[in-house]
């Protein structure tokens, strides 16, 4: 009864608040269901961001190695169809930056492979469209997901302008090797969406994201709000671009060209 009333008041209040304040209510009620509690030595930031040095990580093999690490850590299944799940993958220049290619681009830049993952956007359309707050933006800028709340409507996949999300069309555990599971990270059930989570569970333990750790310094991860951080330093010293600037999402993944 009490719960019913609370839900009703919440519904009435939200409906009254309307669309204008919606993004804030999303934040307020969406935060806090991270699967891992932050530890004493957790890494904190105002705005996490990643800079990928494409001069150093630029072949399919380089990226496959990082993908293997990420997918192993997060128990991402390897589905052999186009209903596959990908948290991190590689693509040629025109697919990574479809609006920013020109016919006379430097051959070296054109022939590189680029590492794609969720951009953890500042204005994430996936959060805007999600009808259950299963996708939410944390105060530190990470766009995270609650797999137990997701109803599998896939609206967020239509909303993401980068194709960063995957849906478990079938039972994901069928494609996982039970002997190689990472016991520290949950597996998913069928019918929910998933994507790169910027390794929130590792940040909570004071670790770097798995792909950053495996990159041997070619990917830099840190706090954009801190002007002395590593990311700010590499952003100052190098020319970087982001994917699809016209979408207005303000991605937090930068590429050094």
């Amino acid at each position: 009864m009490k719960n019913n009333r609370r839900n009703f008041i919440k519904l009435a209040g939200l409906a009254a608040a309307g669309l204008c304040v919606a993004p804030k209510t999303t934040l307020a009620s969406g935060g806090g269901h991270s699967p891992v509690k932050p530890g004493a030595n957790a890494r904190n930031a105002k705005r996490w961001a990643m800079v990928v040095d494409t001069r150093r990580i630029n072949t399919d093999e380089d990226i496959k190695a990082l993908q293997d690490v990420c997918h192993a850590v997060h128990n991402v299944p390897d589905v052999p169809t186009n209903q596959n799940i990908m948290w991190i993958w590689s693509a040629p220049y025109e697919e990574c930056f479809p609006e920013q290619h020109n016919p006379y681009l430097d051959d070296d830049v054109k022939e590189r492979s680029y590492m794609l993952l969720c951009n953890h956007c500042d204005n994430p359309p996936c959060v805007r469209v999600c009808p259950t707050k299963a996708t939410f933006k944390r105060p530190d800028g990470i766009v995270a997901m609650d797999y137990h709340r997701c109803i599998g409507c896939r609206y967020c996949m239509a909303g993401c302008p980068y194709g960063s999300r995957s849906f478990n069309f079938g039972e994901p555990r069928e494609y996982l090797d039970p002997t190689k599971l990472n016991p520290e990270f949950p597996t998913r059930m069928r019918g929910v969406v998933e994507k790169c989570n910027f390794c929130v569970e590792r940040l909570a333990k004071g670790l770097q994201p798995a792909c950053v750790e495996a990159s041997d310094g070619a990917i830099v991860f840190g706090d954009l709000a801190d002007k002395d951080s590593d990311v700010r330093k590499v952003l100052r010293e190098n020319f970087t671009i982001r994917r699809k600037p016209t979408a207005g999402t303000e991605p937090s993944v930068y590429y050094i060209i």
């Binding site: 919606a22 109803i151 993401c160 079938g170 979408a247």
Partner: protein, 421 residues
């Protein structure tokens, strides 16, 4: 009143049985989908919505269509529509039910559906779509049932339903606008990212919806003693013709904007749909069929002579329904996802299982329509409203002078045969 649906001819029961068989077969496939997941569909990582959501989108138009009968009657006191209002409302009920079913079969975790209510999220258009659809279903159930119940008891319609009917008229526009907003405003999907999408949705709803309604009513005329007043049919056909003209005009506006501006993002989906891209031509024949059928339906509906010919009309309507279905039930969705965010093409085509589940839902909708229309026509028969006269006119036609001049062309048998052809 429901007991009226339990008395019927063997033909009626055969039809009900046929629908139940389809529902049963589709339900088996749906159970299979529930146990193994949406992997039985043709959807994939890049095309994450498919046939189900496309049918949902198309049927929202059917739900909104009844308003084209209700509105002239209540806002303009257009009398010939009086006894047709109930059919518009009942059709809306069936369409809303089908829409909701298509959403349910499409989501990956249907048992968690209530999360949309437990965690209301006003910034998601899906939340508003749920509200407007359920609201519209409720409004039509209430107005339709109350009015029919009072008709049956030979009582005037109660005053208190009138405001609800007025609300439902306005609401009909909202369901289609909100459904368009589901698509409109997603930054990565250029085919949908257009301010005219909601207007296009309304235009296509107001031609395709009444066209389906009119076809169903023509069949109803054949199997019952119900007869639509000629003037009401003529008005509705005119509305369909105008709405189709507006629909195609809006489509041309899209084409102009895309190609005159020369913006790649806006051109790519149209190029893919109508001439193929990156070696993928799956939709090209379909889209040109859409253009050809749209042109034919307009050619048959615009000249008053052809439009009012009851032998040609059913054909024109069928052609129009096919054209709008290809545009909205196929091209809109696939064109939105293709080209993908990577400017590549990932083809999508529904699987047999997907079609079976969809058939289950369409059959359920047909079942609801059959039962509701059966009840409504039996009440009308009892009251002598809108009944067929020997000359083929309806009792509501106040200018029927067939008693003196026999119109061979309007003979009921010939016309009825055409209606089902």
């Amino acid at each position: 009143m429901l007991e009226r649906a339990l008395k019927g001819s063997p033909r009626y029961w055969a039809w009900i049985g046929f629908l139940l068989v389809i529902i049963g077969a589709g339900a088996l496939v749906w159970i299979n989908q529930l146990t193994v997941g949406l992997k039985i569909t043709g959807m994939n990582r890049d095309v994450s919505w498919g046939f189900y959501i496309a049918q949902f989108t198309y049927l929202v138009g059917l739900a909104a269509s009844g308003v084209m009968i209700v509105l002239p009657y209540y806002f303009h006191k257009y009398k010939p529509n009086k006894h047709m209002v109930i059919f518009g409302e009942f059709m809306a009920i069936a369409a809303c039910i089908m829409c909701l079913l298509f959403i349910i079969v499409d989501i990956g975790q249907p048992q968690r559906m209530m999360n949309m209510i437990f965690h209301p999220t006003p910034n998601s258009i899906l939340f508003w779509d749920m509200i407007v659809l359920n609201g519209y279903l409720f409004l039509n159930l209430m107005c339709g049932w109350v009015c029919l119940e009072h008709d049956r008891m030979h009582l005037p319609h109660p005053k208190w339903v009138k405001p609800f009917i007025i609300i439902s008229i306005v609401w009909a526009f909202s369901i289609h606008t909100v459904t368009a907003f589901l698509y409109q405003g997603l930054p990565g999907r250029h085919y949908w990212l257009t301010a005219i999408l909601a207007a296009r949705f309304l235009a296509s709803a107001f031609c395709s919806g009444p066209a389906i309604l009119l076809l169903v009513l023509k069949i109803t005329e054949k199997v019952t003693t119900f007869k639509m007043p000629r003037r009401a049919v003529a008005t509705l056909t005119k509305i369909i013709a105008y709405a189709m003209v507006v629909n195609m005009f809006f489509f041309l506006l899209e084409v102009f904007t895309s190609f005159y501006s020369n913006l790649p993002g806006h051109m790519h989906p149209i190029v893919y749909l109508f001439s193929g891209a990156h070696g993928h031509h799956e939709l090209v024949p379909w889209m040109w069929t859409f253009i050809a059928f749209a042109a034919i339906s307009l050619a048959l509906l615009i000249p008053p002579k052809l439009r009012n010919n009851q032998k040609i009309l059913p054909w024109a309507l069928v052609i129009l329904v096919i054209a709008t279905w290809i545009d909205k039930g196929l091209g809109l969705l696939i064109g939105g996802f293709n080209p993908t965010p990577f400017d590549t093409i990932t083809p999508y085509w529904p699987t047999g299982k997907e079609l079976m589940v969809s058939a289950m839902i369409y059959a359920s909708g047909a079942l609801v329509v059959t039962i509701l229309f059966k009840i409504a026509t039996s009440v009308k028969e009892e009251l002598g409203d809108s009944q067929a006269l020997p000359c083929g006119c309806s009792t509501e036609d106040d200018d029927c002078d067939c008693g003196s001049v026999a119109e061979t062309e309007e003979a009921p048998a010939a016309e009825a045969a055409e209606a089902t052809a």
